[in-house]
Amino acid sequence: MDFLNGLVVLMNFVLIPATAYGAQLALGALGVTLIYGILRFSNFAHGDTMAFGTMITVLVTWWFQSMGISFGPLPTALLALPLGLAATAAMVLLTDRGVYQFYRTQKAKPVILVIVSMGVMFVMNGVVRIIIGVDDQRFSDGERFIFSVREFKAATGLREGMALKTTQGITVITALIVVIALFWFLNKTRSGKSMRAYADNEDLALLSGINPERVVAVTWIIVAALATIAGVLYGLDKSFKPFTYFQLLLPIFASAIVGGLGSPLGAIAGGFVVAYSEVTITYAWKKVLKYWMPESLEPSTLMQLLSTEYKFAVSFMILIIVLLFRPTGLFKGKAY
């Protein structure tokens, strides 16, 4: 029974990756939930918005790298991020003006907007693929590890090692900053409160003199920022491949629904619930159990609940469970 070694394995293969992934999902889910709460539809194009934002950032990063600009130990992509943000914000605002606004003024049923967002998704998908192609693109640079497995083993003398990648650290810290900023904005500023009011009661908000177009514009800008940051963090951590962002749609929506559609706090909680579930259920626990169980109870099989192929089956099952038992989610989202 070797608790520490077991713990290290757990942290390295489960806790750290799950936390980073959870932060990425949380940011994605925040974007989805804001659109749902304020614009009142499920935006199927969110995954490809993330891809778009990441793509622009990648291109700018390459450009910076070619000019010799670097950010020291941190990835250059962070420097490129503001430009990616700006471009994505412009793109979503244009899309809103050209596509969604029409249906808003028509007071179309929400399901129509969802179908429209599917059309937007494919157009955006096509654009991204045409510009950057479908292959894996690596764009992270800078220090790879905050501490590597070797350094860890040397420092602690344990048999098992743990590594903390720079990108993982950045993900968690950035997500934290973004979330704090968002909550400050929504709860302490006049603009943010007006958005919450608009989501709460549209007619009364209009009556109070809140400008709906302004609320919509600010919402899209925030969503673009969240999507770009989430996409870039994910891309730095793993790699940028347009197709993966579409695949993230299911876990992101599952996170938002689990937390309660329309509730930012719920989106964050949901993101971590889904991330941790996915990782723990598809992890082969054999190694950890070997360290934690007495010799006689050591497992002989991999002890993997579901194969990694079924990763998103986990999100799906969580989704179904939530829909069956508590459709409004953990934090009681909206019901339109």
Partner: protein, 433 residues
């Protein structure tokens, strides 16, 4: 007059296909026709769900895949070795799995106090899961070890493949029932996401459970309801007839086979279309549309809206399952890797919306039209790009990039088509009456 205009649309499509035959090849034209027929059936199913009940089903591909699975499970011969190695234990394990879920549901219904109920359900599911795995895993390993290169699966019932078509519908109906029970009665967005999820699950199961249908190793050489080209080419009678028409036996056999398929598919389409039209005009159909137009009023009048929606959802999905079985029959193989969940689903939706949502003939028209576009957009864009970049050098980076980009133009074009139609002509080519 509306009728004439609609007929003209269909004539136009027929003309397009014939032109393709003359300009490109009759083979391609027939291919387009056959896939167009299948797409029309799928569009019919989706239109049923959307036009009658306003349901947004994003998981069409999953139901189609279940149809393909049915084709394999019905028509391939059973692999006796695999069955003796682990067939019965697998079935037993699956039954146990179903029993565990059943026990959980019973616990949910019987125990009313929240705490004990939660504990009971979690325990049943937890222990049950391990039991299920303990039974299933060794059996699966045994089956997959049997001749993995060629088989490694259980095989099927060895029945004629045409039986798979209705069975495919049944499989799809079953899956639709499960999803419908969970996700209907909630917001339309929830159904959309739930259906997206189920289709991903179904396709993942197909890709990974080799014992079922060989997973990504694919099942090839499926039985056919029509003669094989090889057999035709060797038949003296056929050679005689084809030379009389001025065709060589190989081409002629290919065309003949495809024409046969076209005939079969058309029969299915006509039957389904007739049924759809009849139900549209029936009191049941009117009630469904009344519910769609004003759910609150309908509910207030005592109509169980959710149950009605479930009916429609199951029916529409079953139709997609039938189409899936047809498609796999046409391909002659099951390739789970080729099922791209959203892309094809999206295409069907474009078909329904462009054709005319809520109108059965519109859905069929949309099926043919959009499939035609989908196939022809690539060669057309290629042609366009060639023309546009005619002035550039062969290895010009921009030109190369654009040529590569052509492959992705299809989706972009379809996306634009959908957006344009939804904005400027939302009722489609043949609107609902």
């Amino acid at each position: 007059m509306d009728q004439t205009r609609n007929i003209l649309y269909f004539v136009a499509i027929a003309a397009l296909i014939i032109i393709t035959g003359m300009v490109q090849s009759w083979n391609s034209a027939l291919l387009i026709l056959n896939m167009g027929l299948i797409s029309a059936v799928m569009a019919l199913g989706v239109n049923l769900q959307w036009g009658f009940a306003g349901l947004f089903n994003v998981g069409v591909m999953g139901f189609v895949a279940l149809g393909g699975l049915a084709a394999v499970l019905i028509s391939t011969d059973p692999v006796s070795e695999a069955w003796s190695a682990g067939g019965l234990p697998i079935l037993f394990a699956l039954a146990v799995g179903a029993g565990i879920i059943g026990a959980t549901i019973i616990a949910y219904r019987r125990i009313t106090a929240t705490r004990p109920r939660f504990i009971a359900m979690v325990t049943i599911l937890g222990l049950g899961f391990f039991l299920y795995r303990a039974l299933l895993d060794p059996a699966v390993q045994a089956v997959e070890a049997v001749n993995p290169a060629l088989q490694g699966n259980l095989g099927g019932l060895g029945l004629p493949i045409i039986l798979a078509w209705p069975v495919g519908g049944l499989f799809a109906a079953g899956a639709a029932w499960i999803i419908g029970k969970a996700a209907l009665g909630l917001r339309s967005d929830y159904l959309a996401i739930a259906t997206l999820g189920i289709s991903e699950i179904i396709i993942a199961i197909l890709k990974n459970e080799d014992w079922l249908a060989r997973g990504v190793k694919n099942v090839i050489g499926l039985d056919r309801p029509v003669p094989k080209e090889i057999d035709l080419q060797e038949s003296a009678q056929f050679i005689e007839r084809s030379s009389a028409l001025g065709l060589d036996p190989v081409t002629a056999s290919a065309l003949f086979v495809k024409l046969n398929y076209a005939l079969l598919f058309s029969v299915v389409l006509i039957i389904l279309l007739a049924m759809a039209q009849l139900s549209l005009k029936s009191p049941w159909g009117r009630m469904m549309r009344a519910i769609r137009d004003n759910e609150t009023a309908a509910a207030a009048m005592g109509k169980n809206v959710t149950n009605r929606h479930l009916q429609i959802f199951i029916l529409g999905s079953a139709i997609c399952g039938i189409a899936g079985a047809m498609m796999t029959t046409l391909d002659g193989q099951l390739t789970p890797g080729s099922y791209q969940p959203l892309r094809f689903t999206f295409l069907i939706w474009v078909m329904v919306i462009v054709g005319g949502s809520g109108n059965n003939f519109g859905a069929v028209l949309g099926g043919f039209l959009i499939w035609f576009l989908w196939v022809q957009v690539e060669p057309i864009s290629q042609y366009l790009v060639t023309v546009l970049t005619a002035g550039m050098a062969e290895d010009n980076a921009v030109r190369l990039h654009m040529m590569e980009g052509v492959a992705y133009m299809r989706l972009l074009t379809m996306g634009l088509v959908l957006l344009l139609v939804l904005r400027f002509s939302p009722r489609g080519l043949i609107p609902e009456k």
